[in-house]
Amino acid sequence: MLRASEKPNAVMAHLPALRVLLRHINCLIPPPRTSMPALCTIRATCHFLLLSPKPRKLHATATSKGPENHALLLNRDERVARNVTPSDVVEKGSTIAAIVTSLGGPPAAVGIVRLSGPSAVSVAGRVFRPAKRSKNNDWKPTSHVVEYGVVLDSEGNVIDEVLAVPMLAPKSYTREDVVEIQCHGSEVCLRRVLRTCLEAGATLAQPGEFTLRAFLNGRLDLSQAENVGRLITAKSVAAADAALAGIQACLTRIWFDLILQCNKIWACGGFSSLVRSLRMQCIELLTEIEARLDFEDEMPPLDLNIIMDKIHSMSQDVESALEAENYDRLLQSGLQIAIVGRPNVGKSSLLNAWSKSERAIVTEIAGTTRDVIEASVSVNGIPITLLDTAGIRDTDDVVEKIGVERSEAVARGADLIIMTVSAVEGWTSEDTKLLERIQSAKSSTGSLIPVILAVNKIDCNPRAETDWDRGCQSHDIFSKRVFTCAVTGQGLQDLERAVLELVGLDAIPSGGRQWTVNQRQCEQLVRTKEALERLQSSIKEELPLDFWTIDLRDAALSLGQISGEDISEEVLSNIFGKFCIGK
């Protein structure tokens, strides 16, 4: 190939002779004396790779019936092939990434992000900077040698201190190049590292995909594989879990507690409506453009400005979604929840019960808490800082007064307020007053902070649940109302759910499933963003219309995760439905 590009004429002239010679050599080499089909295939492949003097090849594959054998023509344009130098030869197959340690439980000390695939090393090289940096920019790891370093995001900020474990093919779990990045165990860390890997070109692994690859590449035995099969095709979470149990018996490090048909759950994810609408817009644009390509004569001309505006607004949507995405932000900064209320309604008990600690001092005496007390909890992987505050009341005590002021300040700065009242005392006028104070705080910042009403000490007055509605009908400013008992822990789960609902992460099953679903959509948006960026540069370079369809198609593909042929069909039926064409 190289020679051909250097001296096309000379080589071309000798090609026929060379080919005949090579064919004879080909026939004369005795095949290995085994009857393993695998070996034969490898041999056949080698023949044409090594001996074929031309890049284009006729690839013959034997099937069971004699003359039904097919000579397959691989798409090789001779003109392109001449340009391709060996370094351009593309790697085959995609590179996948996922967090392979368990999520959703108590934080572990170390968590692992695994990359597997032909470009695992180059993707890792893009995000990982070894401490001992060689002059060469490319990361060239030695297999099975641990390296210490940091993971950087696309802007060069350090995300985490990590150990990178390269395991090069075939000596790895999947028999592909594998790089495992050992990060700190916090979910935030792991997810940010994973996100960086995805941005660097990896694809989020499908559930069970590492194991699937391991199997398809010749590892694992058949019984294990059957479990993989069941996992992949499982129709429900329960079935997936059952299948998982089957694999886990034999394998370690599998966390794919997910089902493939994520689509079904997507409906409840944060991005899903955006993903759907973006996809529709892509298809619409494709319809507009492609109708013109196939039926030039019959269509009114395209208004390029409108198309460009649409593309522009789409990329803005994607970008703002990615930036302001609730969950992503939450993962990075966490959530601040202020617990406020009159003195002695059980705020500190609530904090202790929720954080399963004795962080705050609890006494019978009203006004025990004088300062703001912090405790950390994690709800579905979101780090939450609980802020216990001094009971808010008019007081002459200088210390308590400062405490009350601080309480109000904290309430103003929180992402969410839990207003605690006592079920025993019911709604009091002080509560109304307090609510007004909080509300005034809200209006001063201009944004609405959601407030959850927690009716505490419910164990002391069980009737309160039924009575309560009458008591505070007017206070529809509460976004949610839960009944809790800090002593027994009753209602804490309700409280967590209320918190999640308010930050837009409701309907979350346990164990990070929802997160992964979101993460997949997030990945879709990242890919879409890339495609739209390319599209905009095509527009800027004033490339012809047909080139726009390439990236629009890519965008639609990454948003739909379905095959390209399906997109063609969808575009076509749109064209026929929408336009009056046809001669």
């Binding site: 594959t61 003359p67 392109v80 196939d294 004569d297 012809p544």
Partner: protein
């Protein structure tokens, strides 16, 4: 007869060894020891062993059938009736199939209902257009005829989508329909190895092994061949409709063919009906063109064929544009009950891309007018094709309707518009070689597979012709992968998808169209055609020289640098981008709006290059990044997509597949994973399940063979002495 026998045998042998050289066969399990040895043994073996390849079986079967026939006039005429390939139908698929087969050296018989209608253009006499032109270029690159004939007989040529990208640029030619048919007929008539005969085929003759042996005609003639290509067009049980009236006919004025459908059904084939139509023709001499907008051909004519011998410019004719009027719409609305679709007596809807005028008016009520194109059908025929005006209205309303169009107020109608309904065979019954899965040696092409259009027919025709000849010759069949060409995409769609309307090629059907352009059809396909023997040495030399010039020129553009000067100034003016000092010509060409012509103007072009070659160079350089990106995306996908699926896979037994996938896959029986993924109702999860099953089966087979080897080795250890050659002999005996 004896000479024929010897000749065929010789051909087979030649073919077998030749194909071994051409294609690196990965040997199947019982012949894997040494392909060379196996070939040798095959040659000497007598055709009674169970492992004899199909072509030997077939050959002996043919011989037996001909000698056991009731009437046997030895040596007088029977030998003439044995061929290597029989092509049934002389349309655009049939002609390409017969030509390809005969040119590959197979004795070929073309059976047609009417020799005078060979290569007739019963609908619009036009070739090319978006996506279709790519098909024509590809057929030409493979050594087919359609492009050359269109180049010879054009009335007008236009390149569509000029500024919309190299992949969608499409050449469309209006052709002279009489001249076209005559030119093609004379090519067919003058091709060696090719005989023509008028006949109506009613039966397919079968051999013992579900293989085709020949055909039987309505008048009881039997023609024998190991390969038969059916290209029946709209003729199988064809029925034409004008208004409410129908008659059996393949085309207006031509009788339909009866009996074949029933015969195919008896053989177990699934058949179905499709419908298409053609608009009225008016007398060009009665049309007033003075007020109509003319549509001229391109000043600089482009060509379908890569063969410069047919690049002969001729005078072009003009097409005209007219529009429907309020009166047209009124007549149609008043008479909707008289149309088949809205009157409710025909359920089958026409193709979506070819709606009747009543469909357009009903579905797009807000449109006050629709464009109608008036296209001449020939230099010596007075007929004018009224494009965009097909209708199911009865004949008595058609002339009044035509006369509502500006310019046609006083026209006279030569032929009424009519619709035709015909039998087709859903193409999932064919493999991608276009050979049927049920019957070895039987091929389908053209409208019988549910397509529409001359170009689609020709594309299938050439593939089935090549494969019919190769099959008769005992060679491997050729499959064009979906990613290789529009032809491959077309066939892949046909055999994989569930079609509900006649299939027309469209650019949006090709996912990788940037790689499948008209300009590179030759560099994609001509080497293959040369290797199988359809491109002769002259064309091959032309091709190689062209590629060499292109490649040299690209090298030159990479090495020549300029600093400042007129060219730099012009480039920065045209592109709106600054030109750095010591820029290569290549980098200049990559700038927006920059064309090779500008290099020419400033004396930096290469005058030895033809316009087409310059275009190739320009595309290769300008869109290099995109092309490489697409190529790499394709490569990523192809590895997995091209994995073969065993033909005997029992999908119903694979419980990990969804029920729907099991049914669909059993029906379509895809040949590769990629094809399976395109079958409707098969999800990505099903594909993963399939991959797992394949791998599991592979391991099981591996285990078994390992076990066998172990046993064999044990046995070998027991025996004291084993002769060297025994292994080969065991396999071949």
């Amino acid at each position: 007869m004896a000479t024929t026998t010897l000749f065929t045998l010789h051909l087979c042998r030649f073919g077998q060894s030749f194909s071994k050289k051409l294609f690196s066969t990965s040997p199947s399990s019982d012949t894997l020891l040494n392909p060379h040895h196996v070939t040798f043994h095959h040659k000497l073996r007598r055709p009674n062993s169970s492992s004899v390849p199909a072509f030997f079986r077939r050959f002996s079967a043919v011989a037996a059938a001909s000698t056991s026939g009731e009437a046997n006039y030895d040596g007088i005429g029977t030998a003439d009736e044995k061929y290597d390939v029989i092509v049934v139908g002389g349309g655009h698929a049939g002609c390409e199939a017969a030509l390809a087969s005969a040119r590959l050296g197979a004795r070929t018989l073309l059976l047609t209902l009417n020799i005078d209608r060979i290569a007739w253009q019963p609908c619009n006499p036009a070739v090319g257009g978006p996506a279709k032109s790519q098909l024509v270029h590809e057929v030409d690159a493979l050594g087919g005829e359609i492009g050359k004939i269109a180049d010879r007989c054009y009335l007008q040529k236009r390149v569509l989508n000029v500024s919309r990208g190299p992949a969608v640029r499409a050449l469309r030619a209006q052709t002279d329909k009489r001249e076209y048919a005559m030119q093609m007929k004379s090519v067919v008539e003058s091709t060696p190895n090719l005989s023509i005969r008028e006949a109506m085929v009613t039966d397919i003759l079968l051999g013992k092994n579900d293989n085709v042996e020949g055909v039987c005609t309505f008048f009881g003639m039997k023609f024998y061949a190991p390969s038969v290509v059916l290209t029946t067009g709209t003729f199988m049980s064809g029925k034409i409709w004008v208004g409410r009236t129908s008659m059996p006919a393949g085309r207006a004025g031509e009788s339909a063919s009866h009996g074949l459908t029933e015969n195919l059904q008896r053989l177990g084939f699934e058949t179905d009906r499709l419908k298409t139509g053609t608009p009225a023709r008016v007398d060009i001499r009665t049309v007033d063109f003075s007020g109509l907008e003319p549509q001229h051909g391109d000043k600089e004519v482009s060509w379908f064929s890569f063969d410069p011998d047919v690049h002969i410019e001729r005078e072009q004719m003009c097409c005209y544009l007219t529009r429907t009027t309020g009166r047209t719409h009124q007549i149609i609305r008043d008479n909707l009950h008289e149309t088949p679709t809205y009157g409710g007596w025909v359920e089958a809807k026409g193709p979506r891309y070819c709606p009747s005028i009543e469909d357009k008016i009903v579905r797009f009520q807000d449109k006050e007018s629709h464009q109608i194109f008036l296209e001449p059908e020939g230099r010596s025929v007075p007929e004018l094709y009224v494009q965009g005006f097909s209708t199911g209205l009865p004949e008595r309303l058609q002339l009044p309707l035509l006369r509502t169009l500006p310019g046609l107020e006083n026209c006279s109608m030569l032929r009424p518009a009519y619709a035709v309904e015909y039998d087709y065979l859903p193409a999932h019954q064919c493999a991608r070689s276009l050979m049927t899965k049920k019957i070895q040696g039987l091929f389908f092409s053209g409208q019988i597979n549910g397509t529409t259009g001359y170009e689609e027919a020709a594309a299938q025709g050439i593939i089935s012709g090549i494969n019919a000849a190769r099959y008769a010759d005992g060679k491997q069949l050729i499959v064009l992968e979906r990613e290789s060409s529009y032809i491959g995409t077309l066939i892949d769609d046909l055999v994989t998808k569930d079609l509900r309307e006649p299939y027309r090629m469209l650019t949006s059907r090709s996912e990788h169209r940037l790689l499948l352009r008209s300009d590179n059809a030759d560099s994609r396909l001509t080497p293959l055609a040369h290797e199988i023997g359809l491109i002769d040495d002259r064309r091959w030399k032309l091709y190689q020289e062209k590629q060499a010039r292109i490649s040299e020129e690209k090298k030159r553009l990479r090495s020549v640098r300029i600093s400042g000067g007129d060219l730099a100034a012009e480039v920065s003016r045209v592109s709106g981008q600054p030109v750095r000092d010591s820029s290569t010509l290549e980098s200049l060409l990559k700038k927006p709006h920059m064309q090779y012509g500008i290099l020419d103007e400033h004396g930096f072009g290469n005058i030895e290059l033809s316009r087409i070659e310059k275009e190739c160079v320009e595309i290769d350089i300008k869109y290099e990044g995109f092309i490489l990106r697409q190529q790499s995306q394709l490569q990523q996908m192809v590895t997995q997509q091209h994995r073969q699926l065993p033909e005997d896979l029992d999908y119903h037994m694979i419980t990990t597949l969804s029920i729907e996938a099991r049914e669909k896959l059993s029906k379509v029986r895809p040949q590769t994973i990629g094809q399976a993924s395109r079958v409707g109702g098969v999800s990505p999860a099903d594909i993963t399940a399939l991959l797992i099953v394949l791998e599991a089966n592979r391991r099981k087979a591996q285990e078994q063979s390992r076990y066998k080897i172990m046993n064999a080795m044990r046995a070998k250890a027991l025996e004291e002495e084993v002769p060297e050659v025994s292994c080969t002999e065991t396999v071949s005996s």
